[in-house]
């Protein structure tokens, strides 16, 4: 069903944006190569299920682990390197990872890889299964993030984002927290990659390039960095634009680019970030609600 497929696409973007937000929103470390981890998760699962015959659940977990390990390495790099350098390094990692997928016969090379449809407890997966799985994870992650936000870990990340030296001086182990943030963020991206691979039943290196990373970053920023609802809204808006604006297909990219510019110019904290015009208007309209 068309709507289910659109909902799945958006769900995948929501997972990717929420995970990116941990590193770029909460911890303030720019990662413009997030799609690489999405890809690592996807290819890991493809290899494990089609070449080695692991079952889906184990694959799912391992995809996250492997992506998380690579992410941890990135975290360790991020400690040595200044912020602007980090941003470009993440782009570099994106390119190199995609290049490896494209040039290695082991990963299917330029032909990509076919990914089998999983059967768990006797049920063969269909689009509704993927939809439920994705939104289940979204809920789990939201709960997880809410816990973090109000915890010592969340405060620490916020401190690091605002002023690393100050954070260090009050006893926060900046290095450790950065690495943890990267690991969690990429672990989630890896799991998302696994689900994506089985859903699409065919993956190729083109799916995980720099363009995808930029899209994920844009979603996170447009919705509002550092919040939970921000990336969700951002993913939703930018994910639905290609569908809604099919009738002006020729101008879609123009609209997309223009939207990014206008948003950043007039609502740099994101549509639903703090100080957002829209959020304030809506809250006033519907009366004061409790904090999300």
């Amino acid at each position: 069903m068309y709507e289910v497929v659109v909902a799945i696409n958006i769900g995948i973007f929501i997972l990717l944006s929420l995970s990116l937000n941990i590193v770029t929103g909460y911890a303030g470390q720019p990662n413009i190569g997030h799609a690489a981890f999405f890809g690592i998760g996807a290819y890991t699962s493809a290899i494990l299920t089609s070449k080695i015959g692991f079952n889906f659940l184990i694959s799912l977990f391992l995809s996250g682990i492997i992506a998380g390990i690579v992410g941890m390495i990135l975290g360790m790099i991020s400690i040595r390197v200044r912020e602007d350098f980090l941003a470009i390094t993440t782009i570099g990692i994106n390119f190199v990872v995609v290049a490896i997928f494209r040039y290695s016969p082991f990963f299917g090379g330029s032909f990509g890889m076919a990914v089998p449809t999983p059967t768990v407890f006797g049920i063969e997966f269909n689009n509704y299964t993927y939809l439920s799985l994705i939104y289940l994870f979204i809920v789990l992650i939201i709960l997880f993030l809410r816990k973090i936000e109000n915890s010592w870990f969340g405060m620490a990340l916020g401190g690091i984002r605002n002023n690393e030296e100050a954070a260090e001086s009050i006893g926060i182990n900046v290095k450790k927290f950065k690495i943890v943030a990267f690991t969690i963020s990429t672990f989630i991206a890896g799991i998302t990659g696994c689900i994506y691979a089985h859903y699409m039943s065919f993956i190729s290196s083109d799916d995980f390039g720099f363009l995808t990373s930029i899209t994920i970053l844009s979603m996170t920023v447009i919705g509002g960095l550092g919040t939970i609802q921000g990336p969700i809204i951002g993913a939703f808006i930018l994910g639905i634009i290609p569908e809604i604006f099919r009738f002006v297909a020729d101008y879609r990219m123009l609209l997309y680019g223009g939207l990014l510019v206008l948003m950043m110019r007039f609502q740099p904290h994101g549509l639903f970030g703090k100080e957002s015009f829209l959020l304030n208007k809506l809250v006033n309209l519907f009366g004061r609600g409790n904090r999300w």
Binding site: I91, V96, Y103, L254, Y256, R265
Partner: protein, 286 residues
Amino acid sequence: MFLQQFVNGLVVGSIYALTAAGASMVYGILRILDIANAGAYAIGAYTGWLIYGLTGSILISFIGAMVITGIFGFIIQKSLYLPQMKQSAIVPLITSIGLFIFIEDSLRLIFGAHIKDFAVEVPIGNIVLVNANISGIWILILLVTAFLFLILWWIIVKTKIGLAWRATAQDMEIAQAMGVNTKQLVALNFFLGYGFAAIAGIMVGIYYNSIFPNMGDVPAYKMLAIIVLGGLGNPFGTVIAALFIGLIETFVGGYIGFFLPRDAIAFLTLILIILLKPQGLFAKNN
């Protein structure tokens, strides 16, 4: 073969240097990564192509494109980047990405998606040095790049404006306190930077006899790698970094073959150097 590869590497590096100059200058002053600079590159190429079609003079095309694109740069910084100065660096980055997408698609809608040829009679002939074939356009690129960077060097090192630029690049607030008109400086910076990108775009268009809306794609991300390697904000470090990357790509391709795509090799080099020298090839110096 070595000489051939070496000269080619220099040519490729020179193009990278010209394209990265603008982004480097923008970073030097505003500390933002400006991907829209690659959009200026494409705009410059199309503008130069149009002007050449009308006047038949490559010199007028260079100057005309540089001015028009420079004005575009001025407008961008005034309406978009200056007001965003107080925001975190990610905001102008996303803005520049949106702007870049907008520019590329506008070019596609206006001029069509197909490659247009940009045939120009290059006034310099091809020469053969030892056993290396060096085409006229290569020589032109090397000369123009050297010339423009010489002018830039002279401006930055020998003039009062250059002094103000270096002061602002070091610390904008202090420079302002000392009486530097930073707003004007930023404007000039963008005008020049975008103008350089325009010239790079035209030369690439002529060299490959191709102009197309997506021509800014590779420069968009590669220039970021080069300015980081060059020490972020140091235009001359950028030149060295650009030549370095151009040479590496060429020698790898020429002696080993592209075991990874060219761009991945450039980034791999970047990553390795960053790991060894986290401040880049040259730390920021004035």
